[in-house]
């Protein structure tokens, strides 16, 4: 299922400098994403997860270390990497369809073909009938579906998700997680998702990376061996609960 490395971080460290002091957000992080993999990154809040994600997206230049996309160093944002932000990233003056179309427009692909693709993506995230709705008319969950469809619009190879459903209620989040897995299985993207929900990570991922509190570093890598599709009956499997426990232990050992 997984094969070659597609995104690699080598000895990443990052320091935010203000006029008066330096804050080390990341100490030393090396990780490898292989093609088609679903990886979750968990860690206590403020451990530098978002910083790491922004570095992997090419939005932030690390103080030390480098990122490789396939066999080239990453110099900045790249269209092969799509991002879903935590919330409120939709443009309020654009309809759902126009928001999804944005990456295609910016890539110089306007017109009916782009509109068809945006339409198809909205259907895939279950939003047919809401094409012409403005973000303010959509619920938080629907807005994040649009954000996900938008991230997929330019057909990236890698999807980076920064706690995409963290602000939603538990039931909506579960439904969106199921949809995300379906999309991932169909589109065969490589996914790295930041979350602070241990259950969510264990249920979604092939592999869970655990970070320590700031300055963040990777303290554990836990393989999730369960076959897919993983149903709702996971709660009754002792093995699943053991995995959740193992992740929680790793988080605890990091000092959090």
């Amino acid at each position: 299922m997984t094969d070659r490395p597609i995104l690699m971080a080598r000895h990443i460290a990052h320091c935010y400098r203000t006029a008066r002091r330096e804050v080390w957000a990341l100490r030393e992080v090396s990780l490898t994403l292989r093609r088609g993999e679903f990886v979750c990154l968990v860690g206590p809040s403020g451990c530098g997860k978002t910083t790491l994600l922004r570095i992997l997206a090419g939005l932030l230049h690390p103080t030390r270390g480098e990122v490789w996309l396939r066999d080239q160093p990453l110099r900045g944002p790249d269209r092969r990497i799509g991002i879903v932000f935590q919330k409120d990233s939709l443009l309020p003056w654009r309809t759902a369809l126009e928001n999804v179309r944005l990456p295609l427009e910016l890539a110089g692909r306007p017109g009916p073909e782009a509109a068809r693709r945006a339409q198809a993506l909205l259907e895939q995230v279950g939003l047919q009938g809401f094409e012409h709705a403005y973000p303010r008319e959509l619920s938080g969950g629907m807005q994040q579906r649009v954000a996900l469809a938008r991230a997929l619009a330019a057909d990236p190879e890698i999807l980076l998700l920064d706690e995409p459903f963290a602000t939603l209620d538990a039931i909506t989040r579960e439904r969106l997680n199921e949809m995300l897995v379906e999309l991932w299985e169909r589109e065969r993207k490589t996914v790295l998702m930041v979350t602070h929900d241990v259950h969510e990570a264990a249920w979604l991922a092939d592999r869970v990376l655990v970070m320590s509190p700031r300055p963040g570093t990777l303290v554990a890598e836990i393989q999730i061996p369960f076959p897919r599709p993983r149903g709702a009956d996971r709660w009754s499997h002792p093995a699943f609960l053991q995995t959740v426990w193992a992740i929680r232990q790793a988080l605890g050992n990091g000092g959090g």
Binding site: F85, L91, W93, L106
Partner: protein, 258 residues
Amino acid sequence: MHGKATGWSTRIRAGIWLPRAGAALLFVLLWSLVVRLGDYPPFILPGPERVAARMWALAAEGSLWRHWRATAIEVGLGLGLGVTVGLILAYPLAHWRLFERMVAPYLVASQAVPIVAIAPLLIIWFGPGLLARVLVSALITFFPVLIAAIAGFRQVPPEWRELFRSLQATRWQTFWKLEWPAALPMIFGGLKIGATLSVIGAFVGELISADQGIGFLIKQGQGLYDTPLVFGGILLLASQALLLYGMISALEHRWARR
């Protein structure tokens, strides 16, 4: 898209226009009551019917429209020029701190000096023609537009900028598809203030030097103690400010809805 909204909007329209018309009627009634009770001579306080008659006479000889149009042209050009200059200056001022530090004090100083003090200078420099009056109007218009646009460009949320960066948008795309639409609601706020100021600017220009326009009418009325003409001129000015404000509100409704 708004098919079922028409019934509502006519009802809302009636809900807006009925109180407005009512207030206008009440105002006219009070006005004529004051004139009648106080028994003021027409050159101090003419009644509404005298003002209406004076305007009617002016309209009949064809000069009402000529004066109204002369001022409207100055207002339109002044506002257009002021808005253009304001918007063009706003972008570098919002993004380029050094430029802001160099220019901002002078912009503020230019606004601290009353426009009536600068207007004679402009007329000395550019002659008594249309240009000077347009410049007076533009000079007073551009400032609120500039300030609003700077604030608008600066308040674009960093998340959206990050999104555009991640999508590798060009500078032009970032301006046209992000910064401009994001700033538009604030720009419209400045535009509404600028619109009313542009009428004042054109009027000040006409007071100082003009052979037509509403300012010219009012000055003439003052000189001849033709007070109904002065009152009529004031109403004409108000009509232009209101018309402009209404047009900008309509544009805002179409372009900057959220």
